[in-house]
Amino acid sequence: MGLFKGLRNSISRVTDRLFSEQEPKRIGIYGPPNAGKTTLANRIARDWTGDAIGTESHVPHETRRARRKEGVEIERDGKSVTIDIVDTPGVTTKVDYEEFTDEMDEDDAIRRSREATEGVAEAMHWLREDVDGVIYVLDSAEDPITQVNTMLIGIIESRDLPVLIFANKIDLEASNIKRIEDAFPQHKTVPLSAKEGDNMDEVYDSIAEYFG
């Protein structure tokens, strides 16, 4: 039974991909905590639909559930590309509730850490099952060569998903785009500041080119 079910699911996935060319692609926004994923998701959603997706915060793990904004229509050069944006929780291999105790009381910190762990697991599940492409967001003021980044890019590549790397926070003095380009030379890196709205034209051109 398991074998037949597995085969049926595989065939279903292939036929879905073959015959769903007109369906909007689900683009997952991934990256480590505090890279600016929700700020970017909100920027894109506000620019093209007028609505935000989620709450932005300097406290890590503010986004603890994957959130989807459907039917975001981006117009470039007279053509339009429609995507669903999936804003995902920051991926990590460790969560310590004591990281949050400066910002909130212990009960809230414990609850936040528990939700954060569930959110990471959810993000991994989306990546394996439910996204058609990935925008990988990095804080360009931070060292990109971390285990989480290396692993996640490896996981994305192993699934043959198209990926764009967004070097966010170029408004910061410590921003270093070349460090990101050198770390992942196999992928296109687009510099931007989601917070300030810098270089968004190239962001949208790239999204249309990669995911249209």
């Binding site: 460790k94 969560v95 599940h125 285990q147 290396t150 996981i155």
Partner: protein, 134 residues
């Protein structure tokens, strides 16, 4: 897995146990068996070194299971380190023929409890880590 014991026979460990697991031992194991073996070792405070690492899919599932086991009263998760991919290896003919999953599966990997292992330096040929008892 055999446990470390003091030579005085008290049975209590006074050091950090390191398990070096060969590729041969991992070969016949299912994904969840590998993950269980790794996390059981890490829960015991051991440092687990995999000769041949995990595939990207196994790494993805390791993150997922690790998240499910984090609890505020003890286990904070894992620290995991492998050598970053090198461009030359990725571009190799063998790598392209075998696919990225096979390519990624041959990297020595160090895994330990997040509160006991701290990576000091990492590049394509060296991982330097500080291990504390807890």
């Amino acid at each position: 897995m055999p446990k470390a014991t003091k030579t005085d026979g008290s049975g209590a460990s006074d050091g950090v146990q390191i398990d070096l697991i060969s590729g041969e031992r991992m070969d016949g194991m299912a994904t969840m068996e590998k993950i269980r073996m790794i996390l059981d070792g890490v829960h015991d405070g051991n440092i687990v070194i995999l000769e041949e690492g995990l595939t990207p899919d196994e790494e993805s599932r390791l993150i997922e299971v690790t998240m499910a086991e984090i609890s505020p009263d003890g286990f904070n998760g894992i620290e995991i380190e492998t050598y970053p991919k090198s461009e030359t290896r990725d571009a190799s003919l063998l790598g392209r023929i075998m696919g990225s999953e096979q390519e990624s599966a041959n990297k020595l990997t160090v895994i330990g409890p997040a509160n006991q292992i701290e990576t000091l330096h990492k590049d394509e040929t060296l991982i330097s880590a500080l291990v504390s008892r807890d």
